[in-house]
Symmetry: C2
Subunit: 605 residues, 2 copies
C-alpha cells in the first residue's frame, strides 16, 4: 500500500516539508491549506516540485463548515468551496477533504446534509475533484463516521465519498467494525493517527497530543484491518497534530513517521483475515532481546569511572587490540570504557549491547524499519556488530546470545586483562536508565518497540527540585531488558540529567559493605528519609539502622521489596545496585525525589 502524510504533521515551510517527505521515502502527501497559503510557491510550482520529487499529491484539506446550514449560508458556502476546488485543481489534486460542520450547522438532518453534499458534489465535479466527507469527533451534528457514511450514501453522488480518520473514530470509542459496511469505492481517503489514552476534551486531545502509530494507546492495526477488508487500496496517510513534532526537524520527523507506517503495515498483515498480499510489505521478523550484553561508557578520560568500577569489585579484563577501549567485568557483567574520538566528552552512556536470539534477523529488521545504522570501524579478525542509533543518539548493538557461561566472541579482541574475578554477588545488568530529550521521547518509544519488540509501561512522574521528570520504562515482558527513559523538564538540558546503570545483586548489603571497604563514597541519603521508611513501612529498628549506616534505600510493593543504593555521579553517569526480593517489579520510584535532591546538593555544593 502506498504511504502518505499530511503536511501539517511536520515543521518548516511547504517546500521544506515536501523535500523531507520525499527524502524519507513517502509515496505522497496531503496538502494542508494553511501551508499552501503561507507558501511563496504557487499551486502550479508546488505541483511541479512534487512531480520532480516523485510525490503524489493525494488530498487537499480541510474545507470546513459546509453542510447542515440554511440555504443562504449554503449558497455562500458553495462559492467558497468552488474557490477551494479551483486551488485543488491547480495543484492537480483529485480529492478535497470536507469535514463535518462545527461552527455554523443549524439543521440536524441526514437528509438535509445529504442533499447539500449532493449539490457540493456537482460543483466539485466541474473542477474534476472529489469530496471526502469526514465526521470530526467534535462535529456539531455529525460526530460519528457511521452517520457521515449514511449521509454520503443518501447523497448518492459519484463525486462524494467518506474520509475515515482513526483519531475521530477511536477517540470517541466508536466501534470501527461497521467500516466493513462501506463499499471500498466510497472510502475516498484514510487518515491515521495514534494517541495516548488521555481524559480531556477531544478537540485539545486531537490538536496537541496525536502520535504516530505505535506510540499511543489506540489499536490501529485492527482499525486498518477493517478498512482493508472492504477492499480499500488507497494510501495509508498520517495526519498527526502534535506540539512536539511541530518543533522538530522535518527530515527527522518524516523518517520517524514513515517508520511508524512500516511497523503498522507489518502489524496489520499479521492479523487474521487480512493476509500479507503484495500490498503489505513484510518486515523481517526478529525475536526480542534476552539480556544485556554490555554497556559502553565514553569519555575523553575514563579514569574516574575506572576508580569507581574498581571500588565496586570490577576487574580490568583487557584493552582492545586496535582502539583506545577497555573492558571491565564482574562475573558476566561487562562494562566497556571507550576513549576513542571522545575529545571534551565527560563520562556518559554511549552504547548498550543486547543479546538477541539471532543477530542477523535483528539486523534485517532494523534495516527494514529504517533504523539509522551505528557505525564502528572494524579491522581484520574483528567482530562487526549490528547496531542502530536511537533517537536520543545512544547506540544499540546486538549479538547472538552465546551459550550460557561463555562470553560473546567480541570479548576475544580485548587483551592483557587481569584474570576474571567475581564475588558472586552481581547477577546481571538490571536496567539502564537513559536521559531522553522531550523532543524525542515519543520517537524513542516507537524505535524500541518496533526494532526490538520492547513494550512501554505506563509512564510515571517524579518531582525533582528543578521540575517534574517523566519516566517511561521500556522493557521485555520477563524483565530481562529494562530501559527507563527519563524525560527532562523543559528547563533542564538533557545533558544535566544523569544517566545510570543499575546492577542486580543477590545481597545488596554485602555489596555495599565490600564497596565501602574498598573506599567507595555512596550518594549520601538524608537522615529524615530513614525516619520516613520506619514510619511508612514499619521496618524494624535493626534493619533501619543497617539501611541508614550504608545509605541504602528501601521500597515495598504487594509483590516484594527492593533495596538499592547509588554511587556518586561521574560526568553524567552513576551506578546503582539493586536487590529485588520476591516479585518486586518496580524501580523504587518513590525514592527518586530523595536521590534527585541529594544529587542536587552535591552538584550545587
Amino acid at each position: 500500500m502506498k504511504t502518505s502524510i499530511a503536511t501539517v504533521s511536520i515543521s518548516g515551510s511547504l517546500v521544506e516539508k515536501l523535500h523531507a517527505c520525499a527524502d524519507a521515502g513517502f509515496d505522497g502527501v496531503e496538502i494542508f491549506e494553511p501551508d499552501l497559503i503561507a507558501s511563496d510557491h504557487s499551486p502550479e510550482e508546488i505541483r511541479g516540485l512534487a512531480r520532480r520529487l516523485g510525490l503524489s499529491l493525494d488530498l487537499y484539506q480541510p474545507l470546513r463548515d459546509i453542510e447542515g446550514v440554511d440555504e443562504a449560508t449554503f449558497t455562500e458556502n458553495l462559492r467558497r468551496a468552488a474557490a477551494t476546488f479551483a486551488t485543488a485543481q491547480r495543484l492537480g489534486i483529485g480529492t478535497v477533504l470536507v469535514c463535518s460542520n462545527v461552527a455554523t450547522a443549524t439543521v440536524d438532518s441526514v437528509e438535509h446534509s445529504a442533499e447539500q453534499l449532493r449539490r457540493l458534489g456537482d460543483v466539485a465535479a466541474r473542477y474534476d475533484v472529489k469530496v471526502a466527507f469526514e465526521a470530526l469527533a467534535w462535529g456539531r451534528f455529525v460526530d460519528d463516521y457511521r452517520r457521515a457514511w449514511r449521509i454520503v450514501e443518501l447523497a448518492d453522488h459519484p463525486s462524494v465519498g467518506v474520509c475515515l480518520d482513526s483519531f475521530h473514530v477511536l477517540s470517541r470509542r466508536h466501534d470501527p467494525a461497521a467500516i466493513e459496511d462501506i463499499p471500498a469505492d466510497k472510502i475516498f481517503y484514510l487518515q491515521l493517527a495514534d494517541a495516548p489514552a488521555l481524559s480531556m476534551d477531544v478537540l485539545s486531545w486531537s490538536r496537541h497530543h496525536r502520535l504516530f502509530p505505535g506510540e499511543g494507546d489506540f489499536d490501529l492495526a485492527t482499525f486498518v484491518a477493517h478498512v482493508l477488508k472492504t477492499g480499500f487500496d488507497g494510501p495509508l496517510s498520517l495526519e498527526v497534530f502534535n506540539d512536539t513534532f511541530r518543533q522538530t526537524d522535518p527530515d527527522r520527523t518524516a523518517v520517524h513517521a514513515l517508520r511508524s507506517l512500516v511497523w503498522l503495515k507489518d502489524k496489520v498483515a499479521d492479523l487474521p483475515g487480512v493476509g500479507r498480499g503484495a500490498s503489505l510489505t513484510p518486515v523481517a521478523d526478529a525475536k526480542p532481546p534476552v539480556g544485556f550484553d554490555f554497556v559502553e561508557l565514553k569519555a575523553e578520560d575514563t579514569s574516574d569511572v575506572e576508580i569507581l568500577l574498581e571500588q565496586l569489585g570490577f576487574v580490568p579484563s583487557g584493552r582492545h587490540r586496535t582502539k583506545p577501549v577497555s573492558l571491565w567485568t564482574s562475573g558476566d557483567v561487562r562494562i566497556v570504557l571507550n576513549e576513542h574520538q571522545a575529545r571534551d566528552l565527560d563520562p556518559h552512556v554511549a552504547a548498550v549491547g543486547l543479546q538477541v536470539p539471532d543477530a542477523d534477523a535483528t539486523s534485517r529488521r532494523a534495516a527494514d524499519l529504517m533504523a539509522p545504522a551505528a557505525y564502528r570501524r572494524t579491522y581484520a579478525a574483528e567482530q562487526a556488530l549490528g547496531g542502530a542509533v536511537a533517537p536520543d543518539g545512544t547506540e544499540f548493538f546486538w549479538v547472538t546470545a552465546p551459550p550460557a557461561g561463555s562470553p560473546p566472541p567480541w570479548v576475544a579482541e580485548f587483551e592483557n586483562g587481569l584474570p576474571p574475578a567475581s564475588d558472586g554477588l552481581l547477577r546481571q545488568v538490571d536496567h539502564v536508565n537513559l536521559a531522553v530529550p522531550w523532543q524525542t521521547s515519543d520517537e524513542a518509544v516507537l524505535f524500541l518497540t518496533s526494532v526490538f519488540g520492547l513494550s512501554a509501561d505506563a509512564p510515571t512522574e517524579v518531582a525533582g527540585p528543578s521540575g517534574l521528570v517523566r519516566s517511561q520504562v521500556m522493557r521485555t515482558d520477563d524483565g530481562s531488558i529494562r530501559l527507563p527513559l527519563n524525560v527532562a523538564p523543559q528547563v533542564l538540558e538533557t545533558a544535566d540529567m544523569p544517566q545510570h546503570v543499575a546492577f542486580a545483586c543477590t545481597d545488596v548489603v554485602a555489596v555495599a559493605r565490600a564497596a565501602r571497604a574498598r573506599g567507595l563514597r555512596f550518594l549520601a541519603v538524608p537522615d529524615n528519609y530513614y525516619d520516613y521508611v520506619a514510619g511508612r513501612f514499619g521496618v524494624d529498628a535493626d534493619t533501619v539502622a543497617e539501611l541508614r549506616e550504608l545509605d541504602l534505600l528501601y521500597d515495598r510493593s504487594p509483590d516484594g521489596t527492593f533495596v538499592h543504593f547509588y554511587t556518586r555521579t561521574v560526568g553524567s553517569v552513576f551506578f546503582e545496585f539493586v536487590q529485588r526480593v520476591g516479585d518486586y517489579d518496580g524501580y523504587g520510584t518513590d525514592n527518586a525525589p530523595v536521590r534527585l535532591a541529594a544529587q542536587r546538593v552535591r552538584s550545587t555544593g
Copy 2:
C-alpha cells in the same frame, strides 16, 4: 489575615524554600512531607530555621489513605499515622493534613469513616497535633467537602476538623455556599489555588495546572468570603501544583505567590457582607489606564528604527536634555528611542507608557502589590515617572492623562526637534505585542490584572513554522489598551520571537501608499494568500488587487473588517498598521501563520 504557602508550590530544597518564603514576606508555610524527607536538615533544624526567619509552620502534609478501610488495614494505618504525627511534633507543627482515601478505601460509609477518624484523633492528641481532613476531588468515597464535614461532625473529636481546598471544591463545581454551615472552630485549615477552565481528568488538572489566585477561572473571592463568614481567622494558604513554578526561581515565585494573596484579600474585602476588617489589608485603589502614552524601543544603535519611522511618516521631535534618548512622533503617537546603557542590544520594546486617571494612585497600588519598581535616573526639572518591571522584564511607566490635545509634561525634556507633523491618518497605538517566556506568562497575567486592572481574553493558538505560539490578550474593556502576549514554543528562545507595535489608522491604504512612496519595504505576503482571501471572503476583484499590490492583509468577523500590514523586522521589533472597520475587535489571528512564515523566509534567507 496571615498568609501561608505550601512548600510544594515552589522549587528548590526545603531550606531554599523557607528562605524564599520569608524574604517575600509570607507569615508561614505548610511543610510538604517529601520536601522534609529529601532535606538534609532534621525536623528540629527546620523548626529552628523557621523560627529565625520569622515563619510559622502551619501544616504538615499530606497523610494519605487512612480511613474507610478494614480493621487490619486501619491498625497498620494508625501506626503509620503515629510516625507522621511524631515528625509533625518534632517540627513543632500543630496540624496534619489527612486527605480522603484514594487507594485503599473499601467501606463506603460516613459512620465508618467517622469512627476511624475519631480513633485517629485520639492518636493525634497524644502527639499534640490536630487532624485536618480534606476531601480530594478524586477521593474513592469522599470527594465532596460536604461529606468530609459530615464525617468530621460525626467523629465529634476535638482533634479532628476539616481542611478546605478551593481546587477540590471548585474543580468539581460543588457549591461553596455550604461552607457557611461549618463552625469556624472546625475549619482547621484553608488552602487556595486557582486553575484555568480545562476539560480534563481532575487529577492531572490538579497536579499540573493549578495557578495562583487571579490567574485562572475560579471565583476565589466568593469562595474565601464564604469561609470568612463563618468567622474563620486562620491563614490564607496557597497550595499550587504547577509544572512551570516547579521550574522557576523560588525567590521570584514566592513574591509572585504573595502578590496573588494580596490581590485576593483586596478582592474579598470588596464583596458585600465581608467588610474590610483589620484582617484584610486594603490595596490602594487605582483606575485602569485610558490609553498608551508612549512606547520605548531600546538598542545600542537605533538608526535602523529611525529610517523605518521616517518612512512611516514619523518626525524626530527632539533629543532628551541629559540622556541619549530621542522622541519621534506622528500626531499624538510617541515613540521613544533609547540608546542609554544599551550595549550589544538589538532594537526591542523596552518600555510601555500608559496614561492613567491618577498616576499617584497607580504608584501606590503598584507598591502595595509589590511590583518591582522600574528605575530611571532623573535630574533637576525632569519628570519622575512611576514605573514597574513586568515579569518578562518589560518596563511599564504611567503618567496622569493630560487634557485632550496636550502632550504629557515629560515631552518638554526633549529639545531641538522638528515641528510636529501629521498626515492625520494615524490615530493612536492600537496594541503592543510582547513576547513572553512560557515560564512567566501566568505571572504576567496576574501582574497586569492586579496592578493595572486589565482583563485577560481567552487565549488563542497560532501555528507557526517552528511550533504553536500561544497568544494571550490583556486589555481594558474599551480596547484603549490592548497587550497581546505571545508565548513562544519551548524550542524558540523568546529573543527570537519578534515583538511589535501596532498603530491604528483611519485609512490603511493611504498610509501604505504614502509609506511606499517614502521607500518602505513591506513584509512580502505570498500570492497564494490573496487567492485564499478572494475565495474565503468573496472579496471583489478590485479590492483583492489593491490588497495584493500593497501587501495588505484582510480579516472579517460578524462585527466588521480588519485591514493591516507589517513592516520588515528590525532587531526583534516590527511595526503593524491596522484599520478597524465597524466593531471588529480582533487582531487578524488567522493571518498570523502567514506572517510567521513570511518572517521566517526573511530570516532564513
